[in-house]
């Protein structure tokens, strides 16, 4: 089953997140400049880093989809970008809170990371509407992958452009205080990054497992109750997974690729 490893990943994530929270509040030293506020750094920055990496991973999966024509890569790309969008919102909200706490404004334009984070969000937010506006599942998958590749390349380029446009570069906490991040802070930060990375991987796994289960259920329903019992596919932004079984059965001719690679039962392996 595709649920394999899900439990181990869940436990590891739970342990890592709990440990990180404990470390942040009971172990990490108070920042010399910012004091208690700096604790936000342990959630905001890892979330931002994970989000940006995830967008690039989504682009790589999309490229693999185009290269191999295996629809499972499209599903992975879709789910990674989907969860990354949620993390992006978390990153924007925590960033805004940090800005308010540090500078008294909910939004500051001279923070290039935050600004480029907003632009990247605006771009990736169009991923779902784009998918939604294409009905044919195959074309939807292909077009979405093309978009994801362009958008993935956009992430670093955009960051460079926004950073160049900032009047001065805001020092990350990594650079302040006593000229570098104290070892204990760095340790907690690495823990937080690991925890949030694990959380991201976990949510992606959950989402993929849920999507595959739904498609298996659909296939089962079709087999048990016949094609009429299955509601026709509505328009959806989510990738359509299983190719329907052919009325003639797969025996006809040496099937090349058609429907096979994307069959949910095989997606398990």
């Amino acid at each position: 089953m595709y649920g394999k490893g899900l439990r181990a990943l869940s436990l590891a994530t739970f342990a890592a997140v709990t440990a990180t929270f404990a470390l942040v509040f009971f172990y990490a030293p108070l920042d010399a400049d910012q004091g208690f506020i700096q604790k936000i750094f342990y959630v905001h920055v890892p979330v931002a880093i994970v989000t940006l990496c995830a967008y690039i991973v989504g682009a790589i999966f999309a490229a693999l989809h185009l290269k191999t024509r295996d629809r499972r890569w499209d599903l992975r790309s879709y789910v990674v970008i989907h969860i990354a969008l949620i993390f992006n919102i978390v990153g924007l909200l925590t960033g805004a809170i940090w800005a308010k706490a540090s500078w008294g404004h909910w939004w500051v334009w001279d923070e290039p990371t935050l600004v480029s984070f907003l632009i990247v969000f605006l771009l990736f937010a169009t991923y779902q509407p784009l998918r939604f506006s294409i009905e044919d599942p195959e074309r939807q998958a292909r077009y979405a992958s093309v978009f994801a590749i362009m958008a993935g390349a956009f992430v670093p380029l955009n960051f460079a452009a926004v950073r160049a446009a900032s009047p001065f570069v805001h020092p990350r906490v990594l650079g302040t205080a006593n000229g570098g991040l104290p070892g204990s802070m760095a340790f907690v930060f690495v823990c937080a990054l690991t925890a949030i990375g694990l959380l991201f991987a976990l949510l992606v796994s959950y989402e993929i497992a849920a999507k595959q289960t739904r498609w298996q259920l659909r296939a089962l329903r079709r087999r048990l109750l016949g094609g009429d019992a299955v509601a026709p596919l509505g328009r959806s932004a989510a990738p359509a997974l299983g190719a329907p079984e052919r009325p003639s059965g797969p025996a006809a001719g040496p099937a090349r690729g058609g429907g096979r690679g994307s069959h949910p039962a095989e997606a398990a392996s």
Binding site: F21, I40, H44, P171, L220, R221, L224
Partner: protein, 73 residues
């Protein structure tokens, strides 16, 4: 940048706590919302599975009845 920080000195703890709590609450809340959505989905799937189960059972019962009828003849 250090000048700016100096202009906005570290907030006192009770003031800062509000914001830090806010940031962490946002993080946890979104994860919880996701869990809730997952729960709704799970419910829907288990309902659908139940439906399929009943369908299969009904079919099996009909089959058994037919066989019993054939055997009694």
């Amino acid at each position: 940048m250090n000048a700016l920080l100096a202009a906005a000195p570290a907030l006192p703890l009770h003031e800062a706590g509000k914001y830090v709590a806010g940031a962490f609450v946002v993080f946890v809340a979104i994860v919880l919302i996701y869990v809730a959505i997952m729960a709704v989905r799970l419910q829907r799937m288990s309902r659908e599975l139940n439906e399929l189960n009943t369908a299969v059972e009904a079919r099996e019962r009909a089959e058994a009845a037919k066989q019993a009828e054939a055997a009694s003849r």
